[in-house]
């Protein structure tokens, strides 16, 4: 098992870091927010990322992807986490492409994946139905008709909802909310009759929306995978999403920490840099140690994802990553604001963007408590 980056990975990391610093700094998010940009992300920045191959990162070559694997996608996500640039990377590449690849049949993959790899389409996963992550709580109903299905229900907090061309809707075809059996996956064109999207203005200025589906008709071919048996692919996709999100969070954690340490060296109070105060030094050292643990978890999880069939223990690793990163992103952003003092409270300064992103990322796909609970069950207690 390797927990250090190989040469290719180091190069990818460096180029992603350079790109984000130069083309996609925090100022991009700030501008999108302040201009109340209708798309909520920059098509130009996204196009450049697509040209770098990021949209096809984890898509197999057979579907026009580049087969860099999740380790590659993770590195890219980590760098985007350092500058908070909003893109369809999480919704479309990390979640939807993964789910299509895992659950779809050959035709569906050929139809959907190349478009994602080329950056032509934004696909959003419509999962949550409550404000608290609960992937088994699925009440949106899909009823079989002669020619397909009719979908009725609501979805909350769907990433990139208002800019998506397609949705993958998690629906219930049988059984009760809370059960794995009876969950089915459908691709739904965003332009379908009966689909309504309400954009949400979230605290982190990233795209999300609520969707309502009223008597939405989809053909039989819209079923992704087998009826009632969508849970396995969905569950694996969510774990991959959690690991990818943890990679993004790791980028944010490191960025905030590095900025804070730098500030501690520059900022003078009472004639000395504040970084000379032992109480702050100890708090910084404690954060540093925690971040080292975070890095190891994310590296290990990404490594395991790319081992495919042989992968060990993905669900537990995903929960460990998301639990630990949620906890430490909260710690580091809180300390980051406090140690920056008054200036950290101003909107002009970037640190607030990370504070806000940390909490939304924490809630996305399950917070620390959710994942510790899941981890305990997975470990048999």
């Amino acid at each position: 098992m390797s927990l250090v980056l190989n040469e290719d990975q180091t190069m990818l990391q460096q180029s992603a870091r350079d790109f984000c610093r130069e083309q996609a700094p925090v100022a991009v998010l700030r501008h999108l927010r302040d201009s109340k940009h209708p798309d909520g992300y920059s098509a130009e920045v996204w196009q450049s990322m697509v040209e770098l191959g990021w949209a096809g990162m984890a898509i197999p070559e057979a579907y026009e992807g580049f087969g860099f694997g999740y380790s590659g996608l993770g590195l890219v996500l980590e760098e985007t986490g350092r500058t908070l640039v909003p893109t369809p990377l999480v919704s479309t590449v990390l979640l939807s492409a993964t789910l299509i690849n895992l659950a779809g049949n050959e035709e569906q993959k050929l139809e959907l994946l190349p478009g994602i790899a080329r950056g032509d389409s934004v696909v959003a996963l419509a999962l949550e139905e409550t404000a608290i992550h609960n992937p088994l709580h699925i009440e949106l109903k899909a009823v079989k008709t002669g020619s397909g299905y009719i979908l009725n229900g609501n979805k909350d907090f769907v990433l990139d909802a208002h800019v998506a061309d397609q949705f993958i809707v998690v629906a219930r075809t049988e059984g009760e909310s809370g059960h794995q059996h009876g969950i089915s996956l459908f691709t739904v064109d965003a332009a379908s009759q009966g689909v309504e999207v309400q954009r949400l203005n979230m605290v982190d200025s990233r795209n999300a929306g609520n969707i309502s589906l009223v008597d939405v008709e989809v053909p039989e071919e819209a079923l992704l995978g087998q009826e009632n048996k969508g849970w396995a692919a969905l569950s694996r996709t969510l774990d991959i999403g959690r690991i990818g999100l943890a990679a993004e969070m790791l980028g944010g954690v490191q960025e905030v920490f590095e900025r804070t340490v730098e500030y501690m060296k520059q900022r003078t109070q009472f004639g000395v840099p504040i970084g000379a105060f032992q109480a702050l030094q100890h708090r910084a050292a404690i954060m540093y140690s925690e971040i080292e643990l975070c890095k190891s978890l994310v590296l290990k999880a990404l490594y395991e994802l790319d081992r495919g069939e042989e992968a060990e223990d993905i669900p537990a690793l995903a929960s460990m990553c998301k639990a630990k990163l949620s906890e430490i992103y909260m710690l580091v952003t809180n300390e980051g604001v406090q140690m920056h003092g008054g200036i950290g409270m101003t909107d002009e300064f970037d640190i607030g963007f990370f504070l806000k992103r940390a909490r939304v990322a924490q809630q996305t796909l399950g917070d620390a408590a959710f994942h510790r609970d899941r981890y305990a069950s997975l470990r048999g207690f």
Partner: protein
């Protein structure tokens, strides 16, 4: 005792007659009355209520009648507070004049100064702001550079302040300025009052991460202030500043005070109820870990409230705020921060909205949005009014009597003209 009971009866009757019905309802944030020349009364009853209370001096019940206050002793003012609480009466006036400047003027100003300023504070006619922090100085308050140079009977003031709360809405400012440029830094500061309408004063709001702009940068460009506006002795302003900071801490520690009660506006009214609501729970909060954390928070809140009461009882024997004000300030702020982190967990993504994009707030209710904003706002609690770190230093040194590192390993005091009080090791790490 008999007297108190009579007073209670009278007060109850008077309140019954004079407190408008709408003043007995929970107060939305935008109906808080701050007073001042440009006072806004979103609810006309607020104006009536202020005037009636000010006439009796009950906006400041314990201040001397001579200056327009209520002239009540502690026991009587407690009765008044209890009777107001009984009918859930709103405070008629909220201001830095009442909570910060007034007590200090009463203690340290001349009779003429009191006569000029106190009645206007009592009646809410003048709104005050505080000119303390400066860009680059932060927690090192005494490192201030705003200059006041004597020219005839006036001082000419030049410099700038930062984190001036509501400077753009204030009428007058109480301000720390440097009047001696040779003395050690704490010994060259004076405390002065002046009109924000003076020529040469300008303000610029600072936008915060919460989206609000309660703070300003404030600039002084050859502002002319009469010498008579100086409070206390020349170059002795630091003594007044410290006294005033104690009052500020006592006020800020109040943030944590209501944690144990359910009388705050917004969705965070009861964390537990919120958490249950967003999970559809009826009997018991279904997330046992969050339930444990909320229980721990509420126990600490109740203990904090009791400690505030105990501190007040202990302070009765002495005068003014005591050493525990640092403890209470810090604990109150940390509680408030914990409260809002828990509120975010309680309501999940619904507590993470920034603005509603729908007409009927069907995406995010106003209460939900307020939680996110207040969560962000709460992060400033442990920075303003003396950082968390400064308070811990104060507790360690003054309360526990722990030694000062600087005194042990050499002293920069000489270099900076500092007294023992602001030696580097004693001080903070972050800025106000």
């Amino acid at each position: 005792m008999h007297d108190l009971e009579a007073f209670r009866a009278e007060t109850r009757a008077w309140l019954e007659d004079n407190c408008p019905a709408s003043m007995r309802t929970p107060m939305p944030e935008d109906e808080v009355v701050w007073g001042g020349r440009n006072a806004v009364f979103r609810n006309p009853d607020s104006k009536l209520w202020l005037e009636r209370m000010a006439d009796k001096g009950w906006t400041t019940p314990t201040w001397p009648q001579e200056y327009g206050g209520g002239g009540l002793d502690k026991a009587h003012s407690l009765v008044l507070a209890e009777e107001m609480q009984r009918i859930a009466a709103r405070p008629p006036l909220v201001s830095f004049g009442i909570s910060m400047l007034g007590p200090v003027l009463l203690e340290m100003a001349t009779h003429e100064q009191k006569l000029e300023h106190i009645p206007k504070i009592v009646r809410g006619e003048i709104r005050w702001c505080q000119g303390y922090s400066e860009p680059g100085a932060g927690s090192d308050l005494a490192g201030l550079g705003t200059k006041a140079i004597l020219q005839g009977d006036d001082y000419i003031i030049n410099g700038s302040k930062i984190w001036t709360s509501y400077a753009d809405q204030a009428d007058w400012i109480f301000c720390l300025v440097r009047t001696d440029f040779e003395a050690p830094k704490h010994s060259g500061i004076s405390f002065i009052l002046f009109d924000m309408a003076s020529s040469g004063v300008s303000t610029k709001p600072i936008k915060l991460i919460s989206g609000n702009s309660v703070f300003c940068e404030t600039f002084f460009d050859d502002v002319r202030v009469p010498v008579s506006n100086l409070v206390g002795r020349l170059n002795d302003g630091w003594t007044i500043a410290k006294r005033l900071l104690q009052h500020e801490r006592t006020m800020i520690s109040g943030f944590g005070l209501s944690s144990g009660r359910n009388n705050r506006g917004g969705l965070a009214d009861s964390l537990a109820e919120t958490a249950m609501l967003y999970r559809g729970d009826v009997v018991e909060l279904s997330d046992p870990v969050l339930r444990d954390q909320i229980a721990q928070f509420r126990i600490d809140s109740e203990a904090f409230t009791l400690t505030s009461q105990r501190s007040a009882q202990e302070a009765k024997q002495s005068k003014g705020p005591n050493a525990t004000s640092s403890v209470l300030k810090n604990y109150g702020c940390e509680l408030n921060k914990r409260r809002y982190e828990l509120a975010l967990q309680a309501a999940g993504t619904q507590a993470l909205g920034w603005e509603s994009l729908t007409e009927d707030d069907s995406d995010f209710s106003q209460q939900e949005l307020a939680v996110a904003r207040q969560w962000l706002r709460s992060k400033g609690n442990s920075i303003e009014g003396g950082t968390y770190e400064v308070q811990l230093n104060v507790i360690a040194k003054r309360v526990l009597g722990l030694p000062d590192m600087t005194a042990m390993v050499g002293n920069t005091a000489g270099k900076q003209g500092a007294t023992g009080q602001n030696s580097a090791a004693e001080k903070t790490a972050t800025e106000s």
